[in-house]
Every structure is written in structure tokens, then in C-alpha cells.
């Protein structure tokens, strides 16, 4: 049987850096929305940072939220438009460092939303500063000697926190690396949207992504670094399955 794959019409050219994982996640979200028939019924709340590039990258209605507040803005959208498909698209700096209160409160209330967080271990857009997810010893613009976790805390695991502390519908972590991991990630994203469409409640998918520009690596070397040094700490998989 002939394989046929085309980039969804929802998915425009986006201004991410060459080799950045954001572009793959954007395409997977578009594919899932198209397969679920939600391409004309979706509103996205986007964070500040590289996620701002969704403004040109996706053909759905968008709200550009204040830094970190996408969880609160999406809650408002959900309550005003109960029949829409609503998701947030944020980076780790936006959803965790800046907006942990909004992120956790939305999860605590079990709002019927999908939250997609790109975890690339730094604040990408502003030049690669240290974030809560920066790995131990990782050099960034603001940790030039490598992150000292005795001084700054250990890399945070928000999906585990939400899955084990609250009663969300679905929580998973995937990675944009090998084709196999990308295919698994698509399954997680689709589960998150299906949970929302079935009114099951809050779902979060954290996506480990490379940031070749700020990591100072070639795109393929960044993939290998992610698999060897980041995935062992940030385990992949589903932390809260639907219906559990």
C-alpha cells in the first residue's frame, strides 16, 4: 500500500531555528487537530518565548498571553467557549519559572484543557539563560560555570508533580528525537486532545526538545545529547493514563 504523508494545511512555515524541536511538535499538534476534525474549532493560548512563533506557524485562533499566564487565559477561554478545543503552547521557562502558579492552579482545578510544554532546558528566545529545567552542570548564559544544584535547586519535574498530587485526566512526557519517539509523542498528544473532547479534564504533555542554537550544538549532536543526558533524568512515558 502506498504511504501518503502531507503536512496539514494548518501548519505554516514557522520561524524556529534550524533543527529546533518546536517545529516537529507544531506539526504533530496540527496532525492531531486535523485527524480529530478540530481544525476550525480550536483556540490556542500561547506563551512568551519561542512559542510566540506559533503566531505565524499555525492557522487556528490564538491568544498571545502575558508571560506565564497561558493556564489562566486558557481557563477563561474554556469557560466562555465550552465547546471549543483549547490548548496552551508554552516553553518550560514560561509554564514553570514564570507561570508555575497559573500552570498548577489550572491542573489543581482539573480544567478541561490541553497543556503542551516544550522543555529544552533553558530560556531559548532570550539567549539561553538557565531555567528550572536546566540540567546539573549545564552551562548557560547565566550559569557559565555549569548549573550548581546546591545553589539553584535541581531540575524540576512538573508533570510528575501534577500526576501524583492532583487528579488530572492525562499526563505524559515525550521527546522530539528519533522517529520512534516522535511517533510515540504523537500518541500522547492525541490522547490529550481526546481526553479534552471527552470532557475528562486537564491534560499535560511535556515535550523534551533540543535547542541547538543555545546548546551550541549541531542539530544531530543535540539529539544525541538529549537521549544520552536528558532522557535518563526526565523519564519518558505516561504518568497518568486516561481512565485510571
Amino acid at each position: 500500500m502506498a504511504v501518503e504523508k502531507r503536512v496539514p494545511a494548518l501548519c505554516n512555515y514557522a520561524m524556529f531555528c534550524a533543527g529546533c524541536g518546536h517545529g516537529v511538535l507544531l506539526r504533530l499538534i496540527c496532525e492531531c487537530l486535523e485527524e480529530l476534525g478540530q481544525e476550525k474549532n480550536t483556540i490556542a493560548a500561547i506563551g512568551v518565548g519561542c512559542s510566540c512563533h506559533l503566531k505565524s506557524g499555525i492557522n487556528v485562533d490564538l491568544v498571545q498571553c502575558p508571560h506565564g499566564r497561558a493556564g489562566a487565559v486558557a481557563t477563561g477561554i474554556r469557560r466562555a467557549e465550552p465547546d471549543k478545543c483549547v490548548f496552551t503552547y508554552q516553553g518550560d521557562g514560561d509554564a514553570y519559572n514564570i507561570g508555575i502558579a497559573e500552570t498548577l492552579n489550572a491542573a489543581y482545578r482539573n480544567e478541561n484543557l490541553c497543556v503542551f510544554v516544550v522543555n529544552n532546558n533553558n530560556f531559548g528566545m532570550t539567549g539561553g539563560q538557565m531555567s528550572w529545567t536546566t540540567m546539573e552542570g549545564q552551562k548557560t548564559a547565566t550559569s557559565p560555570a555549569g548549573r550548581d544544584i546546591a545553589l539553584t535547586g535541581a531540575p524540576i519535574k512538573v508533570p510528575e508533580m501534577i500526576a501524583h498530587s492532583f487528579r488530572p485526566a492525562y499526563v505524559a512526557r515525550g521527546a522530539v528525537t528519533t522517529p520512534a519517539e516522535i511517533n510515540r509523542l504523537k500518541g500522547y498528544i492525541k490522547n490529550a486532545f481526546q481526553a479534552q473532547l471527552n470532557h475528562e479534564g486537564y491534560s499535560m504533555v511535556e515535550v523534551l526538545s533540543t535547542c541547538p542554537t543555545n546548546w551550541g550544538m549541531e542539530p544531530l549532536a543535540a539529539h544525541q545529547h538529549l537521549m544520552e543526558h536528558v532522557v535518563p533524568y526526565y523519564q519518558l512515558g505516561e504518568f497518568k493514563k486516561r481512565g485510571e
Binding site: 504511504v3 504523508k5 512555515y13 534550524a18 533543527g19 517545529g23 522517529p179 511517533n183 549541531e218 542539530p219
Partner: protein, 67 residues
């Protein structure tokens, strides 16, 4: 049989598709697209249309379709 085709205008020349293609069916061309990036070229004789390039491409360069 399906084959990959590349929209060179979307390509940023990251080379991930070349690294993951098992059939040596992709190469970097010397063509510079309108955004200033080197872009990828498909070698159709080697391509089996598996779609790996479509999956790993961050920029939606590839279409996999029957010839």
C-alpha cells in the same frame, strides 16, 4: 510506490533527515533558497517512501506520495 518530494523553500538545512534516512536518499544541495538556507534534495532512485524524513523534519519540508 511512494516517494518523498522536498519543498526546498521550507528547508533550513539542519540535516536531520539525512542523518535518519537509512537509504541514503537525501543530500544537501548547493541551492540557496529565498530565505537564505541551503536546502535538501531527494535522490528518487534510492527513496522507498518510508516517511522517516517527513517524521523527523522540523519544518514540514517533505511530502510522501505515490509517484
Amino acid at each position: 510506490m511512494s516517494k518523498a518530494t522536498a519543498d526546498q523553500e521550507r528547508c533550513k538545512g539542519c540535516g536531520l533527515c539525512i542523518a535518519y534516512c537509512k537509504k541514503n536518499a537525501l543530500e544537501m544541495s548547493s541551492h540557496i533558497n529565498s530565505r537564505g538556507y541551503k536546502s535538501i534534495r531527494v535522490l528518487p532512485d534510492n527513496c522507498i517512501g518510508c516517511g522517516i524524513c517527513y517524521t523527523v523534519c522540523p519544518d514540514g519540508v517533505f511530502t510522501i506520495a505515490a509517484e
